[in-house]
């Protein structure tokens, strides 16, 4: 491993760090090499416990780097504990906040809607987390909600949002439970309602659910939407209707957590160098998670 900031090591500016965000649905890797960044996004799948190292390997290959080039790895997301080669695990709350702070510094609230949960994070003027709230009990208000509906209607997940915008009158759909909502949607379609109107209601329902949760920490502009669901224009518009103002979107909403993780990794390295502390006790190889350890 290269020793940064020490002779004959590399200068701090060339520090290479990685952020690994293992979400319930997508795995995201960001490698920061000095000021340049390479990214990798892939499905998490059921095997993520054993595959995190493969994803990182792919990302490293893309950047023509080896694992030993990485000074520090921060893992985050739902599967962060299954990244045995990470130097530290940090929650997605802190990582999203850090990522958003660097991408969109005017943000005071981050609403992250991921595959299995949603969260709202309140930031102060310095971009530090001052409060957060999470829906971690059920799939309503998460990307899974949209996936279930897309599946049952035989639509592509990507087309749901656009279609919903073509609705004239949103049909009210319950926002409490994904299973019940699916039944409602199928029922409305069977009743001959317009698909676009049903979808408009559905997007409204998901946005309502997330909005009422997020409002518990008192939403303040600017509001940034992150996570896979942020890519859905229907949700974005529905959320803006509830808020009464526009939301901001990072260039790639899936990556904010991994970007934040990489930034935190860099900060941790710099801090360790500043304090003259050894960076880590023990470096573990880039390998799969072993069970029973």
């Amino acid at each position: 491993m290269a020793e940064y900031g020490k002779e004959p090591g590399k200068p701090v500016e060339e520090l290479i760090v990685a952020g690994v965000d293992i979400g319930s649905t997508m795995t995201k890797v960001v490698i920061r090499n000095g000021r340049t960044m390479s990214t990798f996004i892939g499905p998490t799948g059921a095997e993520y416990r054993t595959l995190a190292h493969k994803v990182v390997e792919d990302a490293l290959n893309q950047a023509s780097l080896g694992f030993d080039d990485l000074a520090y790895v921060v893992a985050t997301g739902y599967g962060r504990m299954s990244v045995p080669f990470a130097d530290q695990q940090i929650t997605e709350i802190s990582c999203h906040a850090r990522g958003v702070r660097s991408l969109l510094p005017t943000a005071r609230t981050v609403i992250d809607i991921g595959g299995q949960d949603s969260k709202a994070i309140k930031l102060n003027e310095q971009g530090r987390v001052i409060n957060f709230v999470m829906n971690d009990k059920c799939a309503a208000g998460s990307g899974r909600f949209l996936e279930v509906i897309a599946e049952s209607l035989g639509l592509k997940l990507e087309e749901l949002g656009e279609l919903s915008l073509k609705g004239d009158t949103a049909i009210k759909i319950s926002s409490i439970c994904t299973v019940f909502a699916e039944q409602e949607v199928v029922g409305h379609i069977a009743d001959g309602r317009r698909l676009e109107d049903v979808l408009a209601g559905l997007h409204d329902s998901l946005a309502s659910r997330v909005y009422s949760m997020a409002e518990r920490i008192k939403l303040e502009p600017d509001v940034v939407l992150t996570g896979g669901v942020a890519k859905n224009i229907g949700i974005r518009k529905a959320m803006e209707r509830k808020l009464g103002y526009q939301v901001l979107l990072p260039p790639e909403p899936l990556l904010t957590g991994a970007i934040g993780a990489a930034l935190l990794a860099k900060e941790l390295v710099l801090k360790a160098i500043e304090q003259g502390q050894p960076l880590k006790k023990e470096r573990r190889p880039l390998e799969a998670a072993r069970f029973f350890e």
């Binding site: 929650t91 709350i93 530090r128 987390v129 001052i130 409060n131 999470m134 971690d136």
Partner: protein
Amino acid sequence: MKQILARFAAVRDQPYQRLERWKRDTGKKIVGCLPMYVPEELIHAAGMLPVIVLAGKEPISLADRHLQSNACELVRSAYDMGLKGRLDFLDGLVVPDICDQLRFVYGIWNLDHPYPLMHVLALPHRQDEAALEYQLRLLGRFKAALEELAGGEITPDALRHSIQVYNQGRAKLRKLYQLRRQKPGLLGAREVLDVVVAAMLMPKEEHNRWLDELLVEVEAAPTPPPAPGQVKLFLAGQPCDPPDADLLDIIEAEGAVVVDDDMYTGFRYFATEVAPDGDPLMALARHYLNLIPCATTHRRELFLRPGREGPEDYGQFIIRMAKESGADGVVIMLVLYCDPYGFECVPLDDKLTKVGIPHLLVETEPETGALGRLRTRLQAFIEMVREQKLA
């Protein structure tokens, strides 16, 4: 120290076998008390053993036949254990009339699975002179019921002696809590919980002796060096039933140490002592009336603490305790379906926000299953508090 702590843990793990054995060996009677505010001293003075009935660890299987699904864990679990016969060593059950759940489970329990003595201890929901008189009369009635069960009179001297034994226990537990504040990280939150819960499940004299042994070792032990970025937390809530010890472990595994709490199976159980002089029954009435009130009984402007000047409401109390304990943040544990405490969380949240104490509300429920998800929230909270502390 670990050896002594293991003894307390063993009592909490297997409370009932131990009590059954005690009953066989001594031939004495055991009276169960549901949380909170049952004057154990009266039972003790009648020559019987008071034990607090808490939620068990077994999955609930029989109680759901009788109880609605939004009954709290304590009520469902305690009643379930009763139906399964786990508490058949009890000669009596005292149910304090503090909330609807306890009040109503009493009636069902009495119908299905009564013990020789079934007693509802009605409690005043105010804190004034009229309430004191009422409380005194209720305790008189309770005393008479206990005397009938015990087959003998509770003399003032016996009661004074029992008060003394219980006060000693309270003082020792307070000493333990004081040492926990002074030596953060020395005692785990689970270990402290074991010690307090054991106090509710075994003879006080024996528990007091164990505490003496423990205190000597805790006093002698050095404070462990704080982990980098250590965060000190205060636990609020969980006013009736003990929290899931796994939850406490998660909190502490994420680089936080618990320095104090406001739990019934914690500080609330021994916060103040009974006045040792004067009429002992009156002293008991006054003591139990002035305890930290249950959320059902929150006398918002009249939360009088002995030894404190002026009234203090629940939020002010938590803020003071958190500050005094040196905590960096507060974790509020809300037992699912404890509606009164749920309502109490609203002004508490508001007050903590106003004084800038970071806090996290965690809903605790049986068979959580989602502890992993709770872990993310707790970890994120600890990261947030750490960052604020460093800033």
